[in-house]
Symmetry: C2
Subunit: 576 residues, 2 copies
Amino acid sequence: MLERIHCENIKEYSRNQLNVLCDELRNVIYSTVMQCGGHLASNLGAVESTLALFYTFDFPKDKIVFDVGHQCYAYKLLSGRYERFGTLRQKDGISGFPKRNESEYDSYDTGHAGTSVSAALGFAKARDLLGEDHAVIAYIGDGSFNNGLIYEALNSLKILGTKILIVLNDNGMSISPTVGGMHDILSNTENAKRVESIRPLEQFGLQYMGVRNGNDLEEMLDSFAEAKEKLKEGSVLLHIATKKGKGYAFSEEHPTNTHGVPPVGTPAQKEYSTVLGETLCRLASKNGKISVVSAAMTEALGLSDFFEKYPERAFDVGICEEHASVLCASMAAGGLKPYYAIYSTFLQRAFDEIIHDVCSMDLPVTFCIDRAGISGADGETHQGVFDLSYLSLSPNLAIFSPKDTEEFQRALLWSETYPHPLAIRYPRAGKVVFGKSEPIELGKWEYLEKAKKTKLTVLATGERSLLIAMKVLQAVQEQGLTFDVVNARFVKPLDEELLGGLKGRIVTIEDNVLQGGFGSAVNTYAIEHGLGVTVKNFAYRDEFIVQGSVAELQKEYGVSCEEIEKYIVAALTVNE
Amino acid sequence: MLERIHCENIKEYSRNQLNVLCDELRNVIYSTVMQCGGHLASNLGAVESTLALFYTFDFPKDKIVFDVGHQCYAYKLLSGRYERFGTLRQKDGISGFPKRNESEYDSYDTGHAGTSVSAALGFAKARDLLGEDHAVIAYIGDGSFNNGLIYEALNSLKILGTKILIVLNDNGMSISPTVGGMHDILSNTENAKRVESIRPLEQFGLQYMGVRNGNDLEEMLDSFAEAKEKLKEGSVLLHIATKKGKGYAFSEEHPTNTHGVPPVGTPAQKEYSTVLGETLCRLASKNGKISVVSAAMTEALGLSDFFEKYPERAFDVGICEEHASVLCASMAAGGLKPYYAIYSTFLQRAFDEIIHDVCSMDLPVTFCIDRAGISGADGETHQGVFDLSYLSLSPNLAIFSPKDTEEFQRALLWSETYPHPLAIRYPRAGKVVFGKSEPIELGKWEYLEKAKKTKLTVLATGERSLLIAMKVLQAVQEQGLTFDVVNARFVKPLDEELLGGLKGRIVTIEDNVLQGGFGSAVNTYAIEHGLGVTVKNFAYRDEFIVQGSVAELQKEYGVSCEEIEKYIVAALTVNE
């Protein structure tokens, strides 16, 4: 039935036909995610409510903002993207998140948590001021509802004096189980009993409706019809309870494992997260001051064991990246040694707290930054390609980028006694181990390849960049040429001694944008100290990087093995 | 009495003596602020509660975190800083905010809003884990209580399972009047009636006490004694109502005017904020799509008139910088033309939303960034010296730094039809008008001085930097030498045509840190394009910049007229 669906004719379907459509949606989502990877459980849980939204509202005239956006697959399938859905998360394919440039049905791009209510309010004010007439809906999960942005938006409801519908899809889970006070306020959902009102929400200016069964299509159709009526009077919060992963037994029972699913057949590699968890456990076993903070992620960061072994020192504060950062700062001020593990892209949320709290007081917080560099299939909103830049500008912060998982472990051991702010950034997968390693010392790099006589030195930071450097070295050596390769593991401070002694040509490689990152710092050093060298930077160019595989995107956005080899061969032969 | 006070002996004072002490504190605060500038109203309002805190708790063993920190004067006076208090906000003097490096009584540095509850929780967990025994207190105003960080921290109370005391000092005002839903929940304060409980706060895990009269010393002493008892059971929120500016008639009646007070005798100059307000009013009178958003500031940003004339298009959302940013993004997506006015240092809070919401969707939001560069007497937490760096790294964002208030006006007029994200950054005071001005065109700079033959070009961005360039030019010309001066008004994109044509030496000057800022971008351009020029950067070095006057700090941190002149004279004469 799905292939014939256009959202306009959903309104003509019988309830029986709609139920069949739910099953089809679920089948397509399941089989596509098994093929392409993606968010399974959250999308399976959102099927009935999404179908009811189409039945009740008129998209794209009406606007919907999906919070985080990881639950929009049914919405995409019902808005003309069924045929292309098999390209989900592939290069040039359908995005796993809402994208304005993909369809007029996607009103607002999301990827990070907590933006939906603010965004809905902005659309609603624009509508009011421009004299338009349509509904605006924020669709948000209970995990996102913990984020500070939601509170700021709720605080604004009365100030802005407009009308929006908030659909709170409560499955009691964010990526890890949802935690915290607001969840308790809302947590009558297990029995799915209807609640007359929730006072705090009403004091913010919301008409409360709940708790409705979000996996019961009949109930959803009735509830949205009711919500649409209430919306005439003012803003509405419709609280629905769903089962994350609804419809697939494995997914229902293991929602954490199926939040993000890799495609079938992905080879198992040693991941940096595994090393993080093991090493922090090792440190904690001897040092009672070690504590660990995460923001709604434990398993993906490799911290499940730590949370199990040291529950009194392990804190998952929900999707609250800013709070987690301040918490670490004050734990350090109070005498602990906190480690804050987080994805690169999400740490952007704590930018001010990194500067204002951790670094300005020079506190010994260690940021363990996973998924740094290109993260791949999740696209623009999830690439970790800005961290070297936004971290480098802060005084007092050292930045380390390990060459492999072994060096990552040694950096973590080294960090235990490092008394200042420290950021360690790394990609997901550890693909190689380079072997040779000099002891870690602040601001000291190491040579991975050093010829007796050389005219060109590659400074590469992080495993991916070094891997490219070594591949190019092999290819170049096969042509009878060679160059030096340096593991520029400290992005800040730079190894001024090594750098100051270089002659000839320098090539920098990094898994980050050029502006303000590693290459940029090398350039400024070279200019400031009149090094008299020629520098060439390989880094991502100044664009948002779309979805695709790491290799595809490296090549397309400016860090291409081929181009680097070409440049180096030309440089070495011209000089010869 | 105050000169003899050490906080240990406060506990021995009679209540009568304590009342006298309150008057003395108020006198010293008032006369010092008249002399040195600073926050008057908030500090006058906090006198009785601060004294009661000292009477009840044992600082520095007990820890207190002042949210924002602008209400800590009485605390400083009572903790051994009376004698040095006359140096308030001066270079090398007493800071207007808590500073760990100033006194062991200051547990945690603050300056931005909303960090106190998170910070108190971190201290409390450190205490618990280290087996210590002391109280931890967060002292917070109602304006800060709107910030998303507070919600994230409240959400954590049960997760962390520790005990803190939150003192909510409610004067119904942040910098502008406090607005929003949470304020309504708490707003029984006008009658200062006692409330049995506030359910939402209790569901977060807080014992609620309130509303107590925060300007009645007797009531404060009793309330803190009671709070200390209750703290044995679990976390407490003590809600106190105070009058901002208590004790000085003018301040009580005009709290907005006296939030931050300049020292007596500061000359009135034309400020950029005045131009912002006038120009946005002018634009709005003809264009119904113009909207304005601010985060708890209107007057200081020059927007009072706009809010009065166009209330339906002017939004003050409270101290919610992130929400304001998303609101602007979606207003733009919905067809409006939003302007978001904010101080440079506070915009750091919206860093992720600038990238994730505004820039990744390439939406036409204009950021009007006031107090950019060194802001002066407020010190480390208020310097606006990172914005060029953290903005430059985002794709799709243009950055403009006007040379004077006239050019600022023209940039705002130009922005009306600019269809992409734009940041305009400027200092507080407009000191000069340079006169000559070429039409604004994306990525185009202009010469302010062009000799027929020259070996050196100064690229300066923003009024302060150009003022230095022109001063140096005058001094150098008196020595029979000269150089070119370029108004590098677009920091991004750079004027590649002009830059690519330069020969000899380039000097860059900016009111920002070096790393990732304007000079850094020029360096990378020069290296990428093999310009064959010698570049010298003048920018702030990689340190947190303390309080002082703009001139003092420019000189001390790396942007000194003298050094620039010396460098240029040497460069010009060596080459001669």
